[in-house]
């Protein structure tokens, strides 16, 4: 078996770091957008208005039943074409990052919606009765009383889902976008050191996700005590 040769990593560091920045950018923006859209979906799903709850339930079930990589592919293929016809953007502009962001946000929102719904339902009904009895509207009750409490119950799960998303961003390789995984792959391919680079990338993903999970557990314990 050939010796491992790690020598191509230091030289490629700026390129790898740029890839990591793309990965983090996708993760953070998709988590933020996914939480906002997921919150709206969760509220719709619990609404008395049948059409809204039906829409939210179908949305969640749909996105939870199709593979993420397929959603990504659709968005790489469909969104650029759509943007082109809508805003007549020149063909040269690179929409890969934005379509990846939209795809992740829409997909993750389905998962966030369920986490948020469970969080909202974990706040006792007595709390909303008390808020309503004080004359608050439904939306004030939600914003001022229910959500703040629900959030602290669901932060660990939201973070855990964020860690999963961080790993899933590697799927953007289907559009050959240079996220961290894509960058590592390209470097390895170029230097004929694919095995080393993929091992290295795996170790980095592991180190980041493992320590993030530990951090979440730590917060969870502190919140629980």
């Amino acid at each position: 078996m050939a010796e491992f040769d790690w020598s191509s990593i230091p030289g490629a560091w700026p390129f790898l770091w740029a890839g990591m920045q793309t990965t983090l950018e996708i993760t953070v923006l998709a988590v933020a957008a996914g939480i906002v859209w997921g919150t709206l979906l969760a509220i719709m799903r619990m609404s008395d208005i049948r059409l809204l709850s039906w829409f939210a339930a179908s949305y969640v079930n749909l996105f939870r039943s199709i593979p993420l990589v397929m959603v990504l592919l659709w968005f790489f293929l469909i969104v650029p074409a759509l943007l082109e016809s809508l805003f007549s953007t020149p063909r040269t502009s690179d929409t890969r990052l934005s379509s990846a962001l939209v795809a992740f946000a829409l997909f993750e929102a389905a998962y966030y919606a369920e986490i948020i719904r469970a969080g909202i339902q974990s706040v006792s009904r007595g709390q909303s009765a008390a808020a309503l009895a004080l004359g608050m509207s439904q939306s004030q009750t939600m914003r001022l009383v229910i959500l703040p409490q629900a959030v602290s119950n669901m932060v660990p799960l939201l973070l855990t889902q964020g860690i999963i998303l961080f790993q899933d961003t590697s799927l953007v390789y289907v559009s050959s976008l240079a996220d961290f995984f894509g960058a590592a792959y390209k470097v390895g391919d170029r230097d004929g050191r694919l095995v080393e680079l993929l091992l290295f990338a795996g170790a980095v993903y592991f180190a980041i996700c493992f320590s993030a999970s530990m951090l979440v557990k730590h917060f969870q314990k502190r919140a629980g005590s």
Partner: protein, 242 residues
């Protein structure tokens, strides 16, 4: 002030309230008692529209609660309610618990709301606790804060749903004392409670419910003297043994 006329409510085929009628005049204190599951909580929650009902009419201060055109939030802002489990907002300090609805619902300024809250905290003997969180208070203290929170909205009447039944026995008195004060100041009160001592001291009338019906609705002296229904007699003798 509160007029309940032939109110019925059911969950599917289960009848929770059957043809309930009673009146609460301004300044009157009514105590509602009855066995578990008899519909006391449901009835009192119908008064501020927290529970919908299918038949009959409830009018509070001239406003019909069941009317779909009624702005319930506006009515509730001036109908105080105190719950068995206090239901203070655990993520807010005591002083914010008192201020939040004054600011968001009545549109008072923050200073005004905090000031009014502090006055009411003082009244229930808790001005030293203003900056604490509900979780740091005893049950009795929490319930007194909950009463102050309702009073901060300048209610025209107050509804209590078993305000002392989740409390340790040694804390019941501090809450009842606050309620007795309120009653003596002329607050209109509808109180679901098994505290017969409280009823004897300040109630004008006592209502006894059983299986969703108002079985007895009598002036206090009459109720404690000689309840007409056998169920009420049994219930009273059971309670008084404790």
């Amino acid at each position: 002030m509160i007029s309940i006329r032939n109110v019925s409510k059911h969950y599917g085929s289960f009848q929770v309230l059957s043809d309930c009628s009673t009146e609460v005049e301004k300044g009157e204190v009514i105590v509602v008692c009855g066995p578990s599951g008899s519909g006391k909580s449901t009835l009192i929650k119908c008064v501020n529209g927290l529970e919908p009902f299918q038949q009959g009419e409830i009018v509070v201060n001239g406003i019909s609660v069941g009317d779909p055109k009624t702005k319930l939030a506006k009515l509730r802002a001036h109908v105080g309610m105190v719950f068995q489990n206090f239901e203070l907002f655990p993520h807010m300090s005591v002083s914010d618990n008192l201020a939040i609805a004054q600011i968001k619902v009545l549109g008072r300024s923050r200073e005004e709301a905090i000031g009014r809250g502090l006055k009411l905290l003082d009244r229930v003997g808790l001005s030293a606790q203003a900056e604490k969180y509900p979780g740091q208070l005893s049950g009795g203290q929490q319930q007194r804060v909950a009463i102050a929170r309702a009073l901060a909205m300048d209610p025209i009447c107050m509804l209590f749903d078993e305000p002392t039944s989740a409390l340790d026995p040694e804390m019941v008195k501090e809450v009842l004392d606050v309620m007795v004060d309120l009653a003596q100041e002329g607050m209109t009160m509808m109180v679901v409670s098994h505290e017969m001592g409280f009823a004897r001291r300040v109630a004008h009338r006592v209502i006894f419910m059983d299986q969703g019906r108002i079985v007895e609705d009598a002036p206090k002296e009459e109720f404690f003297g000689q309840p007409r229904s056998e169920r009420a007699q049994q219930f009273l003798s059971k309670i008084l043994q404790h």
